[in-house]
């Protein structure tokens, strides 16, 4: 996102006749929406650093990197399901392909990590094309079921193929280096993944206002009408799947770098299905139709997991809590966190006297819920 306009642009804009200026309004460097989105994402991204600085730990840097990597994975759901309208319940299988393709390239073939990332993205393409072939004939629920069986078939074949997965323990790689910069440290890796995640959010956001992105939204909303307007729906679905798969592949590469050596069992049924459903659920909670929703969804997911991990006594209720959150969102804010941010910032703008306390109350309510969960969930240690 550019934050300033150049002198030439400013002059051109000032000199342009009113009609043309109205056209040029579409590429403003700074709009309210962008400031809010950028501010919220950056602010959330920086929370872990703040917590660490305050408590003198490095644990939250790891969590921050976790959020960033899951944001990359969520982006694949945004493109495939949010933009393309294809209900795929196998996004985590694509993560696995990216993960082991990277592992193979780095630890067996000795490639540098940076070359393995595009390789991971490319490695997902054949499977995307196969799902695309299915999506031409299957819609909605039927496609969802087909992708579930696809995922378990991959789990029994590709993710049991030891030459690809590196055996039961998977491949082990070190965190990447770039020239003199070493990303193995907690903060450096956190900064790297966060930067990559935000760039990918920016890229997916740009896709939405383009020929290909609008074709995806059109096919999602009304395939017949889209065809009548000259849109090739098969090619459009395939594009969404290939881009979504590639994003999951890139996410998989960083997933491997984050965890060091994830085991292939995590990409076999039933674990892979759980992770895939988790991705879809939290994409919806974040806001499945917006790139920034992927980031917000990943943030909420990881925070939720950490809160319940701390609250041991209540940990068994983590699924109940997630279901409750999902249902509340689907009923009241189907656009997810993105819609919440939009509505609240609009209310603050229209009537600050009401909007600000209301938003503050909303934030406070969530903080109290988190506090209650931690308070009643933590096993008391006897002093």
């Amino acid at each position: 996102m550019r934050s300033t306009i150049t002198a030439e642009e400013a002059i051109a804009e000032a000199e342009a006749p009113p009609a043309a200026r109205r056209l040029s309004v579409r590429f403003p460097s700074l709009t309210r929406g962008r400031v809010i989105t950028g501010g919220v994402l950056l602010g959330l991204g920086l929370i872990p650093v703040g917590v660490d600085a305050a408590r003198n730990t490095t644990f939250w840097e790891y969590i921050g990197a976790y959020i960033a990597v899951w944001a990359m994975l969520e982006l694949s759901v945004v493109v495939v399901t949010g933009y393309g309208g294809l209900i795929s319940l196998m996004p985590f299988s694509f993560v696995g392909i990216g993960c082991f393709a990277t592992g193979l390239a780095v630890s067996v073939w000795g490639w540098p990590f940076w070359l393995a990332v595009p390789f991971a993205a490319l490695a997902t393409v054949p499977i995307s094309v196969a799902v695309g072939a299915a999506s031409v004939r299957l819609k909605g629920l039927y496609l969802a079921i087909a992708t579930l069986t696809f995922a378990s078939a991959l789990g029994e074949t590709l993710f049991k193929w030891e030459a690809f997965t590196g055996g039961q323990a998977g491949h082990t790689i070190d965190r990447p280096k770039l020239g003199p910069v070493d990303f193995s440290g907690g903060f450096a890796f956190y900064a790297l993944t966060m930067a990559v995640a935000l760039v990918l959010v920016w890229m997916v956001h740009g896709l939405k206002s383009s020929r290909a992105g609008r074709a995806m939204l059109a096919v999602r909303d009304n395939e017949r009408e889209a065809q009548a307007l000259g849109i090739n729906s098969t090619k459009t679905k395939l594009t969404a799947l290939v881009i979504g798969g590639a994003l999951a592949g890139v996410g998989g590469a960083f997933y491997l770098a984050l965890l060091g050596s994830p085991a292939p069992a995590g990409f076999q049924s039933p674990y892979v299905d759980v992770s895939s459903v988790l991705l879809v659920v939290w994409a919806v909670i974040g806001g499945i139709e917006a790139a920034s929703g992927a980031f917000l969804g990943a943030f909420a997911l990881i925070v939720q997991q950490q809160v319940f991990q701390g609250a041991e006594k209540l940990f068994v209720f983590i699924g109940v809590y997630a279901a409750l959150v999902l249902v509340v969102f689907l009923i009241f804010r189907p656009g997810g966190f993105v819609q919440v941010v939009k509505i609240q910032s609009e209310r603050i703008r229209v009537n600050p006297a009401r909007g600000i306390p209301e938003t503050a109350g909303l934030v406070l309510f969530n903080v109290i819920v988190i506090w209650l969960i931690i308070h009643f969930g933590t096993v008391a240690t006897k002093t």
Partner: protein
């Protein structure tokens, strides 16, 4: 399996220069023959009406011409070129535009974005150009928005440009759909009951509007309509369809006096009127 109708397939003298030429098109759904060797010609810039009772096969004919149904027999030509093996989206590139009986459009997109989506065939930037904000994407977007701005004024949709389809009246939706299809710059435009569900006042505006579209763009218009005032007042020629066959063809006056048309479609009142006249 195909029934041939030598008399209907016999070439019309007008066929050579026709904008849309339908030759012996037959469509069967199981045992039912929805279209039975239909042959029609539409000249460039002509406004032609299609008349017939419910179930006569009017929409089936549109679906067969626009590629949503594969005919069992027959040929469809657009500006002389055969198009029946093309996908619907390819027929759009060939110059065919169509609207649907039930307007839905893209409910997740605003009116402005709906019109942007309709500019698809005029744009070329790849998804990667968009993701990296390359100059080719920027040129593409500039062009798309310029086209939409022009279309908003042409069809008077500017007040609603930031609204979503579900916030609009059915009449406005009809105009939005028309604007979307006009964005394709078709040489032949198929309109499936454009006046259904819109107010009488808007229906009255529709006739002159269709003529203006024809005059401005030179496209031929093929019109299915149950509003007799609009159909008779706008069409220069009318085909009447019943049980999948063409039962009459001619000027609005001729067709509305045709005994078969009176029997199958216009009904007794009109017949009495015609008899009284």
């Amino acid at each position: 399996m195909t029934t041939t109708h030598p008399e209907t397939i016999a070439r019309d003298p007008h066929a050579a220069g026709a904008a849309l030429s339908i030759e012996g098109v037959t469509v069967r759904f199981g045992g039912i023959t929805a279209l039975d060797g239909v042959t029609m010609q539409i000249q460039p810039g002509e406004i032609v009406g299609l008349l017939g009772p419910n179930g006569a096969g009017k929409t089936t004919l549109f679906n067969a011409v626009s590629g949503f149904i594969k005919p069992d027999a027959g040929t469809v030509r657009l500006d002389g070129a055969e198009i029946q093996s093309m996908f619907p989206y390819e027929r759009v590139t060939a110059g065919l535009g169509r609207t649907f009986q039930h307007v839905k459009l893209f409910r997740g997109l605003t009116v402005y974005e709906n019109l942007l989506a309709a500019q698809h065939r005029h744009l070329s930037a790849s998804p990667f150009a968009a993701m990296l904000r390359l100059p080719s994407w920027r040129r593409d977007e500039d062009e798309a928005r310029e086209l939409v701005e022009r279309m908003l004024d042409t069809v008077n949709l500017r007040p609603w440009s930031q609204r979503y389809p579900w916030e609009l009246s059915y009449g406005t939706l009809r105009f939005l759909e028309l604007a979307s299809v006009l964005s394709l710059r078709p040489s032949v435009l198929l309109l499936d009951e454009p006046a259904t569900g819109i107010q009488q006042k808007e229906v009255e505006q529709l006739g002159p509007m269709l003529r203006r579209i024809r005059d401005d763009t030179g496209c031929a218009i093929f019109l299915i309509e149950h509003d007799m005032g609009l159909l008779m007042g706008t069409s220069e020629r009318i085909y009447a369809l019943d049980f999948g066959r063409v039962i009459a063809e001619g000027s609005p006056k001729e067709v509305s006096a045709d005994p078969q048309v009176l029997e199958s479609y216009l009904g007794r009142t009109r017949r009495a009127e015609a008899a009284g006249a």
